[in-house]
């Protein structure tokens, strides 16, 4: 623990760790020092001069180094000038006056200066009501300005920095929080200041503008209404909004969010989500979320939502009652006996998955997870467990990222691992191509696609890299599916698990295996005992299939064909999909915004989400639908209360043992202090009042004997002449069903692409942006060529869910 320092602030004795800034020390002691440029997550810059205070330091005797005493107390010498509380570190015996006449005048002066250039448009400003400048003006300002209104500088008020973020130049107070966030935290220095003096303005020269997946965070920490999102600007006033705790369902990070809702006329009098905001969880996402999490929620409110159960009659889907629909499903499931197959995705909650898995077990069917990645059973054995937190990783910890482009697949993990590396963690990035995380790596390992397992197996033997890995106190490995299909990733997981297990990096906090899954609750599905099936087409053929939260028909023509040949198909989803179109029975599910439940993140943290808006139509929660079907089959599954399902789950799934639904709602004090009434401090991020979740134990952590099954590596695909090796990669913004309905993101999603090395393109005679035909394994499609020299020659990268159904490495023809 850091050395403690005691000082006095406004007469109050405060003890804080050495190195704490005066502004933060005051905050910890409940004393507010107003700030604008200061943000506890950013390096201090002392620019805005808002936090001016008087600082006195004890006088020391030059010879002895002891305090000089005066009237029985150390003699304090005050500096002649006011000082900034945000740049001065605490010192033993320091005396700080934040409300002395001199300090108050200094603070008043800064507010007056800031307002000389600030417009008087609070009544139409999006930030009004949660605006630090507004709040601090009321609390610390001079009340009126002596500046002539006519002499105000007028500047552009609607400047798009990109299509997602807008700048109002007049409102900007040049605190640089946004620029510093992008530089220091996101590592995307794509916005900056142009010009200087009063003409200083924020600009972005990237293409596309403000090219960062973290851009929305700048609107949260902007202390004025200068930066707003295209999604929310002019959308609502902050005081009209209700706040509901939620969990982001877009990736395995499990960012804590707050859904802001209001009832509004333009939505037909319905209560709707107006924006998604980060909710503080320093163990998960701190106070950040990525833009996908912030902007992709629109699918929950789209026109394509399913509102009532349907049954196919005379070849057409027609409206049915819940009873009729579930009965029809139940009859067919029962009839199928061993030919009953459940396919569920990680979009569902733990409770939904648990009921589905229970149904499969009772009915003698199979339960498959819809995933392009394998190896999940190993994360239950040697996965990370209780106490694991990227925020606490630094020197002594090795973080290995293999076959994953974290910036695209799990942005907040990228951000937090980058920060861990900055604190001294040993970051090893292994991939067949360059990824953004390479920049922060201590070591990068480049292998050829197909050599993933070998690269991992050899890691410990690899000279300096191996030494640093073996000498680490802790090690985590994040493995993904960059260039890999189900069996490839399963083999990789096994190699990673073995490496960790053999070297004692399991069963302790900050040790173990993490899967970079495609969906938010894939980890949950693995914990429930779902399996992955590589050849789903075969698994569907002639079977009775119950699909929940997945759209295989749109994803893959082969699966579409297989389902045509299925005996019976029941589909349960939030919205109309290509798969619901071919279903025999369609069961409308509630969106995560409409219900409660829990999700298990990739770090194996179980977290609760809460209902924010009323249910759409007759939709029901997935677990309840499954329960209703089960009842018709004579199987009893809890179907009324999520917490009851959770209790049953916790009693039956070993890794959940000891968890209760209530415990997931517990919170503890976090630093920095955010939210509350003084929004100026951490921005408009929400304080966590509804739960920080709990981490599961892993078998290795429970002291169980663990043996890592060896997974045979598949034979490498060998492209023939005139063929390339095509591998699947993941893009943050793809054409997936939970993203595409958000029109705002369409520019970033773009079209189907095939990514080639310039030399490959040259030998094929194709150019950048050219439309080419791509064919592999019976798939024929079109895609635009994109060139990069960060990949190998002879390889074609094909992004998943962008229109070309690639599931594993294949030989491809590009023309």
């Amino acid at each position: 623990m850091a050395k403690q320092v005691t000082l006095t602030i406004d007469g109050k004795q405060v003890t804080v760790p050495e190195g704490t800034l005066v502004a933060d020390a005051a905050k910890m002691a409940g004393i507010d020092i107003p700030v604008f440029c200061h943000h506890p997550k950013l390096e201090p810059v002392g620019m805005c001069r808002m936090c001016l205070v008087e600082i006195g330091r004890p006088v020391r005797d030059r010879a002895t180094g002891q305090f000089v005493m005066e009237n029985g107390a150390p003699k304090i010498q005050f500096m002649p000038k006011l000082e900034t509380a945000c740049t001065n570190k605490v010192e033993e015996g320091m005396v700080v006056l934040t409300r002395s006449q001199k300090a108050v005048e200094g603070q008043k002066g800064t507010i007056e200066f800031l307002l000389t250039s600030h417009p008087l448009d609070c009544p139409i400003c999006d930030k009004g009501g949660e605006c630090p400048l507004q709040n601090l003006t009321v609390a610390y300002g001079p009340g009126k300005s002596r500046f002539l209104y006519d002499e105000k500088m007028h500047l552009d008020k609607q400047v798009p920095l990109g299509e997602l973020i807008w700048l109002d130049r007049e409102r900007c107070i040049q605190c640089a929080r946004c620029i510093r966030f992008q530089n220091e935290i996101a590592g995307d220095p794509v916005i900056g200041f142009d010009e200087r003096g009063r003409a200083t303005q924020i600009v972005s020269f990237s293409d596309p503008g403000f090219d960062s997946v973290f851009s929305g965070n700048t609107t949260d920490i902007c202390p004025v209404g200068a930066l707003t999102t295209s999604d929310f600007r002019f959308g609502a006033r902050p005081w009209e909004l209700q706040a509901h705790a939620s969990i982001c369902t877009q990736c395995p990070v499990g960012c804590n969010t707050t859904l802001n809702t209001r009832r509004e006329a333009k939505s037909g009098g319905r209560i709707v989500v107006k924006r998604v905001m980060p909710r503080q969880n320093e163990d998960v996402n701190e106070i950040w979320i990525c833009d996908k999490g912030r902007f992709a929620y629109h699918y929950t409110e789209g026109k394509q939502r399913l509102t009532r159960p349907m049954i196919r009659k005379d070849g057409k889907l027609t409206r049915a009652s819940w009873d009729a629909a579930t009965k029809l499903a139940a009859e067919n499931f029962q009839k199928a006996k061993k030919n009953f197959v459940i396919l569920a995705s990680g979009r569902l909650s733990n409770e939904d998955l648990f009921n589905l898995k229970s149904l499969a077990e009772h009915a003698d069917g199979k339960a498959y997870i819809y995933s392009h990645m394998g190896g999940g059973e190993l994360t239950s054995l040697v996965g990370v467990g209780e106490g694991t937190n990227f925020g606490s990783m630094g020197a002594g910890t090795t973080i290995v990222v293999v076959a994953s482009d974290l910036y695209e697949e799990a942005p907040v993990w990228y951000l937090r691992i980058k920060q861990a590396a900055a604190r001294g963690a040993n970051l090893i990035v292994m991939n067949a191509r360059e990824t953004k995380l390479d920049r922060y790596a201590s070591f990068t390992v480049r292998y050829a696609y197909g050599d993933e397992v070998k690269a991992v197996s050899d890691l410990a033997k690899k000279g300096k890299i191996g030494d640093t890995f073996l000498k680490s106190e802790n090690a985590v490995i994040l493995y993904g599916s960059d260039g890999l299909g189900v069996s490839g990733s399963a083999a990789l997981a096994s190699a990673c698990a073995k490496l960790l297990h053999d070297n004692g990096f399991t069963g302790r906090p900050n040790n173990g295996l993490i899967g970079v899954w495609g969906r938010a609750n894939d980890q949950g599905a693995w914990e429930m005992g779902f399996e992955v099936e590589e050849d789903l087409a075969k698994a569907f053929k002639g079977k009775t299939v119950y699909i929940a939260g997945a759209d295989p028909v749109a994803d893959d023509p082969k699966l579409a064909k297989a389902l045509e040949g299925a005996e019976f198909v029941a589909v349960q989803d939030v919205m109309t999909t290509a798969t619901t179109e071919i279903a025999d029975v369609v069961l409308p599910a509630q969106a995560f915004t409409e219900r409660e439940g829990t999700l298990t993140s990739g770090e194996r943290r179980v977290q609760r989400f809460y209902p924010a808006v009323p249910v759409t139509g007759e939709a029901k929660a997935d677990f309840a639908i499954t329960s209703q079907i089960a009842r018709h089959m004579g199987i009893v599954l809890e179907g009324t209360s999520v917490s009851a399902v959770f209790d049953i789950l916790a009693a039956s799934v070993k890794s959940f043992e000891g968890l209760t639904y209530a415990r997931l709602a517990e919170v503890r004090p976090q630093w920095p202090i955010v939210g509350r009434s003084d929004l100026y401090y951490g921005g408009t991020t929400y304080e966590n009042t509804q739960g920080m979740g709990a981490q599961l134990s892993a078998a290795a952590g429970r002291g169980e004997k663990v043996s890592i099954p060896k997974v045979e590596k598949e034979a490498l695909v060998r492209p023939k002449e005139k063929e390339l090796l095509a591998v699947p990669v993941t893009k943050l913004y793809d054409r997936g069903t939970t993203i595409l309905p958000s029109e705002l993101l369409h520019e970033r999603i773009g079209e189907a692409k095939v990514i080639l090395h310039p030399e490959t393109a040259k030998s094929l005679g194709v150019e950048e942006d050219q439309k080419v035909s791509v064919s592999f394994n019976g798939v024929n499609g079109e895609a635009a060529v994109k060139l990069t020299d960060t990949i190998s020659v002879g390889v074609a990268l094909i992004p998943r869910s962008m229109g070309l159904a690639i599931r594993e490495p294949v030989a491809v023809k590009v023309k």
């Binding site: 805005c48 001016l52 006011l82 200094g106 200041f193 003096g197």
Partner: protein, 416 residues
């Protein structure tokens, strides 16, 4: 008296390496590198009483002794940004006596253990930078720069770096940011450059004139240097004389020379034989010295004496203002300069200079009232002591002293 800094005025062609060498050039550097320990060099400079000539007057040897020897590598940066209105001394040194300056850079580098030094020139000194590059190349060819100098293991490279039009880069931390390829905005101090400087490494930043003193101090000893000037201001100083004088220019004189001597003996007196109304001893950043009494002109120009007049000697860029000039016009000029040069980083300077410029314009154009003058004074004072660096503070000096010491000039132009 022979010049110490402007030696080209006595020795023709001293900008040629052979001539410089013949006049004792590089002997001090060679002696230091081959016979002295770095801290002994620092000690001599400390004892000489040399103070920084850039404006702040900080003791040079003491600054060198602050270099953090636990953190390496070290750098030396020569501040040749010379942008203060009224200052044009460093330019003459570099144009005409370049080797003495570069030898000073070299000695400073040896004293603080730097193997690389940068000369940061303002962008307008494009030609001077090219000239210095030639001189540096000549020194390299002659074995005064480069690897293993004089057969020791000490190596040194000197590089020029051109600014591009930003007064603020004369502020040492803004200059470091600029060399790092960033916007020239000042850093929060502390930490100071001797512990956290260029690329985060210990760095000594010294003004051109300061460094140009060093070779002769080393050659002739600290006592020799101290024998010139006054007790608190040792040695000689180049006074850049400008404004309403007959013979503006650089005059190298011992500290303690009076304003009268500078203006009348050297500067040939005031144009059109007008009366001196005010003096700005430190360029546009200066307080305005009120010359309401002839005796003021007899004040010796050293750090302590000038302070008694309510001003600082600073860079000794003496701008003479005669009685044809009205102060409302003058501060309108200076405020516009600072508004243009404010980097925009801190609020009081960015907003304050903008606000002040509106007020000085309004006053100068006769659109203001007495209350506006009071407001201007108040705004300037509201900025004081609050800014991130000295630029903001400097912008208020002429305003405050102009209004307080020459109020009648303002009363004349305001509306009733």
């Amino acid at each position: 008296m022979a010049h110490i800094l402007l030696r080209h005025r006595d020795i023709p062609d001293i900008h040629k390496l052979e001539v410089y060498k013949k006049n004792g050039g590089f002997a001090a550097f060679q002696n230091a590198v081959t016979r002295m320990k770095p801290n002994e060099v620092t000690e001599v400079v400390k004892n000489s009483g040399l103070r920084g000539r850039g404006g702040a007057g900080f003791p040079t040897g003491m600054k060198w002794s602050f270099i953090d020897n636990k953190n390496w590598p070290h750098y030396v940066v020569a501040n040749a940004d010379e942008s203060e209105p009224g200052t044009f001394k460093d330019r003459e040194i570099m144009e005409s006596n370049p080797f003495q300056f570069l030898e000073g850079v070299a000695i400073a580098s040896y004293a603080v253990g730097a193997n690389a030094a940068y000369v940061y020139l303002r962008g307008e000194f494009w030609q001077i930078a090219a000239f210095l590059d030639e001189k540096i190349a000549e020194m390299e060819a002659a074995g005064y720069l480069g690897k293993n100098l004089f057969g020791t293991d000490y190596s040194l490279k000197i590089y020029t770096h051109l600014g591009a039009g930003a007064y603020i880069c004369g502020e040492e931390t803004a200059m470091l940011e600029s060399i790092e390829g960033k916007r020239g905005q000042p850093r929060v101090r502390p930490p100071f450059p001797p512990s956290y400087g260029l690329y985060g490494k210990p760095t000594i930043v010294n003004n051109v004139e300061t460094l140009t003193n060093v070779p002769l101090i080393l050659a002739n000893g600290a006592e020799w240097y101290k024998s010139m000037g006054t007790a608190d201001s040792a040695g000689v100083k180049i006074f850049s004389l400008s404004g309403r004088v007959r013979k503006p220019g650089n005059y190298e004189l011992p500290f303690g020379t009076t304003f009268r001597e500078l203006i009348y003996t050297y500067g040939g007196g005031v144009q059109d034989s007008r009366k001196v109304k005010a003096i700005m001893p430190a360029g546009a950043s200066s307080s305005l010295i009120l010359v309401d009494d002839e005796k003021v002109l007899d004040t010796p120009m050293d750090y302590a004496s000038v302070r008694t007049l309510g001003a600082d000697l600073g860079s000794a860029s003496v701008i003479v203002i005669d009685d044809t000039v009205s102060m409302d016009w003058l501060i309108n000029k200076t405020v516009h300069f600072f508004r243009h040069e404010s980097c925009g980083k801190c609020t009081p300077c960015r907003e304050g200079t903008y606000w002040m410029s509106h007020l000085t314009e309004r006053i100068h154009e006769g659109r203001a009232t007495r209350a506006d003058v009071d407001l201007l004074l108040n705004v300037a004072k509201q900025m004081q002591g609050k800014c991130l660096c000295a630029l903001g503070e400097f912008s208020t000096m002429a305003v405050v002293t102009g209004i307080e010491r020459f109020r009648q000039d303002f009363d004349k132009v305001v509306k009733a």
